[in-house]
Subunit: 238 residues, 2 copies
Amino acid sequence: MNDQHIASAFDRDLEEIQAHVMKMGGLVEEAIRQGAKSLKQRDEELAEQVRRGDKQIDAMDTLIQEECARLLALRQPIASDLRTVLTVMRIAANLERVGDYAKNMAKRTSVLVHMQPIDGASGAISRMSKEVQLMLSDVLDAYIRRDEELAQDVRHRDIEVDQMYNALFREFLTFMMEDPRNISSCMHLHFIAKNIERMGDHVTTIADQVIYLVTGELPDEARPKGNAVNYELPTSGV
Amino acid sequence: MNDQHIASAFDRDLEEIQAHVMKMGGLVEEAIRQGAKSLKQRDEELAEQVRRGDKQIDAMDTLIQEECARLLALRQPIASDLRTVLTVMRIAANLERVGDYAKNMAKRTSVLVHMQPIDGASGAISRMSKEVQLMLSDVLDAYIRRDEELAQDVRHRDIEVDQMYNALFREFLTFMMEDPRNISSCMHLHFIAKNIERMGDHVTTIADQVIYLVTGELPDEARPKGNAVNYELPTSGV
């Protein structure tokens, strides 16, 4: 009876935290979308909004980390409940990093609007950020539905983002060699592309965490061998 | 009596984990040192060693995360003990990221050795990485001695690293504009410089965590307002 009571109190608390993770994920998605839009439309004001908006994302991360710490202290979860709480903390930390990269994208947009535009670059960056944003949307779905297959799908799509980045890298090199006046803007655009590629890496890490949550194991490539984690209490004395 | 027993078992477990954090920190310091050396001396074999060595750093992070999770499950710490365990997890995660950046530095070294060297660049990068490596060494000292002042000092030194990066950025732009044949190598060198600057950011985050560990509060600039975390159990019923 008491166990039952504790379990459902834990579930209730966790549900509240998960709602915050989803809200945070929505804010990060929006930051990517608006960050890419501000670059494409050379909209300095929108870029400034994205930069300011990152404070809210950071605050959500702090809130979720606090709530998880409090949940650990209050409910003292073990086994899969403990795993869930630690996973939620990691997912929030990764979302925070993606938000940081979106902020950095907006920062460089504020510089780029004062430079000569590079033909085609903002379109390619826009497609790349669109893909990462969809991956993020899907990984949040996978998280809430505990959908391993969808999480695996997200992991595989990161390869495409890496390929898009590599193609852009070569393109920027060509632009710079063709005309030295392109160098400054290409340096900034290249950073934006790299930041988006890193967002993809963090979304992939979230996908790894979702897989871990569902199966109890990280994907093979995500971690060195011997990573089976035992959160159970031993049957013998402590 | 029983409380006493539990407390000292916790301390013993924690000490073991902290020894692993220090070992991991030592590996990361060495990765920065050797990564910078491989770049300066154009030593492809050493770069390859640094790349391979990152697996061990990742494995240490996994080990520490597991040990902390097990400690949470077994000892069910609350209040400042819980804070300590969560802080250790964050410190290890940040060390892992610094190790990743050292690996990336070594990766690009392997490409750069086949290109025309850029005068003066590797010296500047070497000084920058030396500074970050010293910051890391100091922050690990600050962690083990619970030395808030030293942690604050590390935070302030990150400003110098940022300034070094900014100076290098301008230098690379000049090199590229002077001679388009410098563009490829400058793009790679610029990334290395940016990676070292990011290492500095992660070391600063570790310093924040040390300050949090000692004082119970994050430095003002590190976090949005309202971040006082309450890990105590409430006096009223759960």
